[in-house]
């Protein structure tokens, strides 16, 4: 093997190693996606309680931009009043809201609740 051939071989080996590392990094990304996917079977299921929470949230989203507040906290005060009227706590709403992104069932249920649109003002 000539000197240039050896250089060529070294280059081939180096590039192959880099390509392999690149592939490994890609697998890392896939592993992340799979980890998210794996969480789906444990996603929160929809039931009557989550439906009522979706109804409270939908009603709030229909009117929240109609009012201004002197205090930022008033947004939460308004939500908590709506929740209390429906028999829920802020913590229950928070748990439901956090579960929404990972639960196709909750998303579908919210879509059902919001399908009729906002009530006329």
């Amino acid at each position: 093997m000539s000197c240039s051939d050896r250089r060529l071989a070294r280059a081939v080996v180096s590039l192959a190693a880099l390509a392999l590392l690149g592939g490994t990094a890609g697998c890392g990304s896939d592993a992340t996606a799979e980890a998210s996917t794996a969480a789906t079977p444990t996603a929160t299921t929809a039931d009557a309680t989550t439906r009522r929470l979706a109804e409270v949230e939908w009603a709030r989203q229909c009117t929240v931009d109609l009012a201004s507040h002197a205090d930022e906290q008033a947004f939460t005060t308004d939500l908590d009043a709506r929740l209390a009227e429906a028999g829920f706590t802020h913590e229950q709403w928070k748990k439901w809201h956090d579960a929404l992104a990972g639960s196709p069932e909750l998303i579908s249920q919210f879509a059902e609740v919001s399908a009729p649109g906002c009530p006329a003002a």
Binding site: L15, G22, V64, D65, E72, F75, A101, A111
Partner: protein
């Protein structure tokens, strides 16, 4: 021989080029998301916010929806000169996100909140420009991380610019209301008593309260031995909020009974103003 060597070098160069392309290709595939088209369908639901009045500070909200779930939501708001915008302190004060989290879930709604301070000179409606950035976690095949289909591992960060109108309407109602109209003190006492005031729709600046001509035997003092009393929370009162001033009623030389104490309330709205008031002092 020389030609064969050159030929060998060309083959070697071709091999290196192919391998380099194989290596660099995937890297180029991870080019910045700006090259992609935003397929999230993210859009504002709100065309105009709640109305404000000249001179008002108010927290407003803009509702958003989208066809795909997006994460890492951030919004900044630009308003015309003279209108001041501020953000929730929970995010450091330089931007706002969504109420529930920084994720907008597909098919749902959430809102961003921000505060505007409208000068008294702003008599007409004005636009605000909202610049929102977010990340789409779905691949070109439409499969998304959170929906269990996996994706191509490519981050797509988008920027959406939206314009929303902030209506400005004339203020109604009084500039302020005096909530405390009566104070009860013990005979022989000499202590501060709070008087509460609530601003009307607009903010009041440079609020001061002082007593007028006093009934014989009554002395009134002010914090810091000053000549006026100011709101406890600052020099002014934000519209639709309540604050209180302290007046020290020296009733040591006052007989039991009911007295009327005149007040002078000064404040700056569109311009400096003075209004009269009274407080009933009951000495028991």
């Amino acid at each position: 021989m020389a030609a064969a060597r050159r030929s060998g070098r060309r083959r070697g160069a071709a091999v290196v080029a192919v391998l380099a392309a194989a290596l660099v290709g995937p890297l180029l595939g991870s080019a910045p998301a700006s090259a992609d088209t935003d397929k999230t369908g993210v859009r504002p639901v709100t065309a105009q916010t709640a109305p404000v009045v000249p001179g008002q500070s108010a927290w407003l909200s803009v509702v958003w929806t989208g066809d795909r779930s997006v994460t890492e939501w951030s919004t900044t708001v630009k308003a015309p000169a003279g209108v001041t915008v501020s953000y929730p302190t929970t995010r450091g004060g330089s931007d706002t996100s969504l109420y529930g989290s920084d994720t907008l879930v597909s098919g749902t709604r959430d809102f961003t909140a921000f505060r505007v301070r409208v000068p008294y000179t702003q008599q007409s409606s004005f636009p605000v420009t909202l610049t929102s950035t977010y990340v789409d976690n779905c691949g070109d095949n439409g499969q998304c991380k959170n929906n269990g289909g996996g994706n191509d591992g490519k981050e797509r960060r988008y920027t959406l610019t939206s314009t929303v109108t902030v209506p400005v309407v004339p203020a109604t109602g009084p500039a302020f209301t005096q909530d405390t109209t009566s104070v009860t003190v013990k005979a022989g006492s000499n202590a501060f008593a709070p008087l509460a005031f609530t601003a009307g729709q607009a903010d009041l600046a440079d609020v001061t309260v002082r007593a007028g001509a006093l009934p014989p035997g009554l002395k009134v003092g002010y914090p810091g031995d000053g000549t006026v009393s100011r709101p406890a929370g600052g020099t002014g009162i934000i519209g639709r909020t309540t604050d209180q001033v302290g007046l020290r009623f020296d009733a040591t030389a006052l007989a039991k009974g009911t007295y009327t104490v005149p007040l002078t309330i000064s404040y700056t709205a569109a311009a400096p103003r003075t209004a009269p008031g009274t407080v009933t002092l009951v000495v028991q």
